[in-house]
Symmetry: C2
Subunit: 310 residues, 2 copies
């Protein structure tokens, strides 16, 4: 008997790790992770992608005819229609790379690529904490601050496929320059490096984000204050998003979201205080449910939804 459901490979390529998931019926049945820095050149990295895909399939005894396709989430602006990586802000050596076609040729499988925050938003809107919601904003807090937008239940990519850059909404008219070219972008206020700087200033030594989260959760006031500050900045940017986009759900994920309820309580308070009442009442601010798996799951969903379109 032929199976109705095929396997999918979902890949989340980050600046730190490349995570591979073999998905079956929407669930990850096996995983692999490689440190991104092990592959110093673009060629190395692309070769490793192709090889690891083959390994995963052969280890799981899945023949290629039972594979629907490969989806990849990538940390930068992507032309998802043409399958091109414009560039990666945090991985050098990539500029206008036709990654989809290269991997399609290498694997003889359908390949789809998209921005990682788009895929996080897609995953959370399909099976995560925004499941079944209509107009959703997904935010990933990390070294960078990424975002994805769901409009009327579908991923909205914008006119040059680069929508959702919440991290680059200006928080003030003047302020710190941002590597994106902008000024006073949200990312400059809530990105990991900014939080680490503040922790170092407060405690006189380098403290990891995980440690800072633990300290805050166990009641350290200075640690709590740092997270509260970051959430205040985030809430102000989101109060504009709420007035402009009027979403039903904002899903917040990424490392910073692990600092716990202080982040969410503060963001909710700021939106209640600053957004227009009708829109503020319409939106729920929730924590991402899929955690580190969101990218792989979203990449898997991308394959399904893109093939379904045809």
């Amino acid at each position: 008997m032929a199976r109705n459901e095929k396997h999918i490979i979902g890949i989340d390529l980050g600046a730190t790790n490349i995570k591979f998931g073999l998905l079956y019926k929407g669930k990850i049945i096996s995983k692999k992770s490689l440190p991104t820095r092990d592959f110093p050149s673009r060629e190395n990295l692309i070769f490793a992608l192709g090889q690891t895909i083959e390994e995963i399939l052969s280890e799981a005894n899945v023949p290629k005819k039972n594979v629907l396709g490969i989806g990849i989430g990538l940390p930068g602006p992507i032309d998802s229609l043409k399958g091109i990586v414009h560039y990666f802000p945090n991985i050098p050596g990539w500029r206008n790379v036709r990654l989809r076609d290269i991997l399609k040729k290498r694997t003889s499988l359908p390949v789809f690529i998209d921005n990682d925050a788009n895929l996080m938003a897609l995953a959370e809107a399909r099976i995560g904490s925004a499941k079944g919601k209509t107009n959703v904003v997904g935010i990933t807090l990390g070294t960078g601050v990424g975002g994805g937008i769901i409009v009327q239940g579908k991923l909205y990519r914008g006119s040059s496929l680069t929508a959702g850059e919440i991290g680059h909404i200006p928080l003030n008219e003047s302020g710190p320059k941002c590597p994106c070219g902008g000024t006073a972008c949200l990312e400059r206020y809530v990105g990991n490096s900014r939080i680490l700087d503040q922790a170092k200033k407060s405690f006189g030594e380098t403290i990891s984000l995980e440690e800072l989260s633990r300290m805050s959760l166990s009641g350290n006031k200075a640690a709590r204050k740092i997270w509260e500050n970051a959430a205040q900045h985030l809430g102000i940017a989101l109060s504009g998003v709420v007035n402009f986009f009027n979403p039903d759900t904002i899903v917040i994920g990424g490392g910073v979201a692990n600092a716990g309820e202080i982040i969410f309580a503060t963001v909710r308070k700021v939106i209640r205080a600053r957004s227009m009442p009708t829109s503020a009442r319409a939106v729920r601010i929730v924590k991402a449910k899929l955690g580190n798996d969101a990218g792989m799951i979203g990449a898997g969903l991308l394959v399904k939804e893109e093939l379904h379109k045809r």
Copy 2:
């Protein structure tokens, strides 16, 4: 022979004037305008709407069976699905008014209502300077700063039908309080009253916006500076909209837009300087084409598109 096309009445109810247009094949074939302040109570105003609709039809010899419906653009948050006016920031006495049902009963015609800036965006996207464009932001600069969003060619209203409030995107984290409840909203920097205040400060006397526009167009540096300042604020807010929403077109209309090229040149310059390059290249910033008629034309289009959905 029966006609294929029916007449539509498009109404643009503003805080200053109520404009009525009789539309045929998308064009205004007759107009009427009444000063809003002539109707001190809600009841007076609704009565006048019903009466003027009847007058227009009888003067044009159009029997009701040849009328497709009535569309009304309104200056405040509207529940366009239920046909309810939540309230008007600048016209007292309206709270949760079932305007659609009241006028439907009075006129025995289909009635549709929506926010005026939504209808301006719709009109510009259908037959104005964003004709045929896909992802459009329409902005009306006036006493208030309104906005409407077109996504994939369709009016996007958001989860509580209150999307598009560009005037209430915060420009700074702290700043002047806004009547909407927010802080440092764009409207507080570029609304008419702010510009009039600056003109009074610069010239030591009260100057109308029309006069200030004329002075700027004929080379007065102080006048030019005031418009340039306003456009700088607007451009910064829009640089965030470009990064978040990645539109192909931003249409700017309303009185302030009449100050001419200084507004558009400055907004374009700020977006080029501050937005992310791919998104900045994808967007055109254009002047609204339909001017004072946009509201009436948009209201007419609303009737057509809503009836077409059924």
